[in-house]
Amino acid sequence: MDPLRQSPSPSSSRASSPRTLPCEMLGYVGIEAVLDQLKIKAMKMGFEFNIMVVGQSGLGKSTMVNTLFKSKMWKSTMPGLGVPTPQTLQLQSVTHVIEESGVKLKLTVTDTPGFGDQINNDKCWDPILGYINEQYEQYLQEEILITRQRHIPDTRVHCCVYFVPPTGHCLRPLDIEFLQRLCRTVNVVPVIARADSLTIEEREAFRHRIQENLKTHGIEVYPQKCFDEDINDKILNSKIRERIPFAVVGADREHIVNGRCVLGRKTKWGIIEVENMAHCEFPLLRDLLIRSHLQDLKDITHNVHYENYRIFRLNESHVLPRGPGWVNLAPAPASVPAPAGPQATPGPPKVGWWAKDNSDEEC
């Protein structure tokens, strides 16, 4: 039997769990009722989801959003004769609350009209990166307040859907540049837009080339391989990774096919059904984004991307490394390594994946 030991000191408690003893329960206690309690609490609070669509104009972004959420989120923009093309990249956000079976979802969609439309597209990703970082900054400021709110409103971008134009060749330099920069800040899901202009074989070839391009340039799109937690996740996610990028078609008109009412695009040579797996991969995208991985997207944004941003922000305002000058909330925390003295080493500029990788290795 343990001799009486003192309560654990605060300085020794780190992320590791204390020594636990497995116990057999001899009867039903009712612990699993906590799941129902969780559900009730979640349904009462409601969910939030922020999605950003990026791509050149005319690729069907607004239509895609409308199809995904089966509602008129956006009016599909059509360039009028008198409307000038925007000279600068303007981000537009719209928020709606949608409800289904008692589950309330506050959905924010951010559109990026004008992306890649100029003649000189240099640094066109900067406004987007700025916007994403601004959301992180807002959340960070709320989090470090002394009196903070019970539930911090979450405006961070959870997922960025990147529309690749269906050239059929490979990724363009603009795409590569953009994806490289963004995959470190936010979860990126690339899709082949307007896939009805490619045949099935062309699609496969295009997809292969895009996957190779992504690998060569070291772009990790969602679902990232390094965040697979266990074997089930790995299997599930590798299946998804094989099919990325999805070839999608968006439509918000309904037509009658074989007596059923389906969403589709009507052309002279046939009707392309959006929800038919044989025609396009829209169901896969929808399942990924909404039905199976929505919570996961939010978790990765919160646990990885936001933490990286936070590390970067809290480090850059201190030129000196974290040493005894760090705010001492308790006497001599054991986890802080002894400093070598005041040196002017700047903190690491961007941590990247390494934060999560290390924790993975530790666990």
């Binding site: 009486l4 009867g27 309690q37 928020t95 009196t147 199976s292």
Partner: protein, 446 residues
């Protein structure tokens, strides 16, 4: 660089949009639950009560298992907290349960400081969480939450009222943790006494301003049951791990000569109510209250104590980082000063030591000179002596040759042999005396 112009369509704001079909996000709660299951849950209970009130037995009964442990003695010198963590698994839900028990509470003669270890322990858990949250590189989603979610306060079944120790302790704890008072070993009180006891306890708690945990009544699903349960506080419980056969079932009960008390019989005690409220209905709410109310209060007090503010007197928002910076610079300045001081002291000490060493060196030099002089004097004396000896030896040699010469002349003459012999004898005597003298001198000189 292109300016960012984020236009949020103000007119639409957050309007509800009707859906034209099944989208599928009603699986969101399930996704959330799956993620929580894979992470696992943790729940920490603190049992405060005097020795012998049945705390460990009640825990065993609540969770239907036998946690290891020995009953404590009454001879503890002070209050200590004993913490044990267990891994429970029920269907697919894993729970890390931590049970913290006070050992030696109420056993001392002077109980003024009994509540202090408890308060310190609770604060220590908040502190650990706060530290983790304020780190630059933190692992909050993997962090084992050790903050106390529920405190079961065991009241002794006297039947009269609360003890002053109980009142004082509960008053100190009510702003730090969710307190659920329970009447322990309630099979010692009869039904009528019990109602009076409960009323007395609640009125005493109210009049002393102790805030105990109220089960939440804002959600329609559980409002009703929680409301009725709130009226039954404090719960009168009995704990037992022994099973007896009653009717045709095995039930947990305590057997007395006058009857059997069944633990899970609602007419006998409130154990079932406690289990319902603590585990099956409000576990999540207890955790949330701990995090959003008690922990936030602690955090706010702690950060204000450290001198951080949200806004300074001019109502300009302070950045936490600026305050960090200022404090950091201050601290570094202090450090520099200290370093200078130490350096000065070091230089001074070195100087002193040098002076000392110089003195010693001088002394040594003098000593050396003296010795050298002595040595030289001795050497000179010896040389003088050697010289005189040499002179004598040469004088002797001269005389020896002269004597030999004389002797050879005398042997030729032959006449005065006796005389010669006498002379020789005398000479030989003188010679031997001289050799003796010479030897003695040599001996003296060496």
């Amino acid at each position: 660089m292109a300016a960012t112009d984020i236009a949020r369509q103000a007119g639409e704001g957050c309007r509800t949009v009707p859906l034209a079909g099944h989208v599928g996000f009603d699986s969101l709660p399930d996704q959330l639950v799956n993620q929580s299951i894979s992470q696992g849950f943790c729940f920490n209970i603190l049992c405060v009560g005097e020795t012998g009130l049945g705390k460990s037995t009640l825990m065993d009964t609540l969770f239907n298992t036998k946690f290891e442990g020995e009953p404590a003695t009454h001879t503890q010198p002070g209050v200590q907290l004993q913490s044990n963590t267990y891994d429970l698994q029920e269907s697919n839900v894993g729970l890390k349960l931590t049970i913290v028990s006070t050992v030696g509470f109420g056993d001392q003669i002077n109980k003024e400081d009994s509540y202090k270890p408890i308060v310190e322990f609770i604060d220590a858990q908040f502190e650990a969480y706060l530290q983790e949250e304020l780190k630059i590189r933190r692992l909050l989603h993997n962090y084992h939450d050790s903050r106390i979610h529920a405190c079961l306060y065991f009241i002794a079944p006297t039947g009269h009222s609360l003890k002053s120790l109980d009142l004082v302790t509960m008053k100190k704890l009510d702003s730090k943790v969710n307190i659920i008072p329970i009447i322990a070993k309630s099979d010692a009180i009869s039904k009528s006494e019990l109602t009076k006891f409960k009323i007395k306890i609640t009125s005493e708690l109210v009049s002393n301003g102790v805030q105990i945990y109220q089960f939440p009544t804002d959600d329609e699903l559980v409002a009703e049951i929680n409301g009725t349960m709130n009226a039954h506080l404090p719960f009168a419980v009995i704990g037992s791990t022994e099973e007896l056969k009653i009717g045709n079932k095995m039930v947990k009960a305590r057997q007395y000569p006058w009857g059997t008390v069944q633990v899970e019989n609602e007419a006998h005690c409130d154990f079932v109510k406690l289990r319902e409220m603590l585990i099956r209905v409000n576990m999540e709410d207890l955790r949330e209250q701990t995090h959003s109310r008690h922990y936030e209060l602690y955090r706010r007090c702690k950060l204000e104590e450290m001198g951080f503010k949200d806004t300074d007197p001019d109502s300009k928002p302070f950045s936490l980082q600026e305050t960090y910076e200022a404090k950091r610079n201050e601290f570094l300045g202090e450090l520099q000063k200290k370093e200078e001081e130490m350096r000065q002291m070091f230089v001074q000490r070195v100087k002193e030591k040098e002076a000392e060493l110089k003195e010693a060196e001088k002394e040594l030099h003098e000593k050396f000179d003296r010795l050298k002089k002595l040595h030289q004097d001795e050497k000179k004396k010896l040389e003088d002596k050697k010289k005189s000896l040499d002179d004598e030896v040469s004088a002797f040699k001269q005389r020896k040759t002269a004597a030999e010469l004389l002797q050879s002349q005398g042997s030729q003459a032959g006449g005065s042999q006796t005389l010669k012999r006498d002379k020789e004898k005398k000479k030989q005597d003188a010679l031997s005396r001289l050799t003796w003298y010479f030897k003695w001198k040599c001996l003296v000189l060496t």
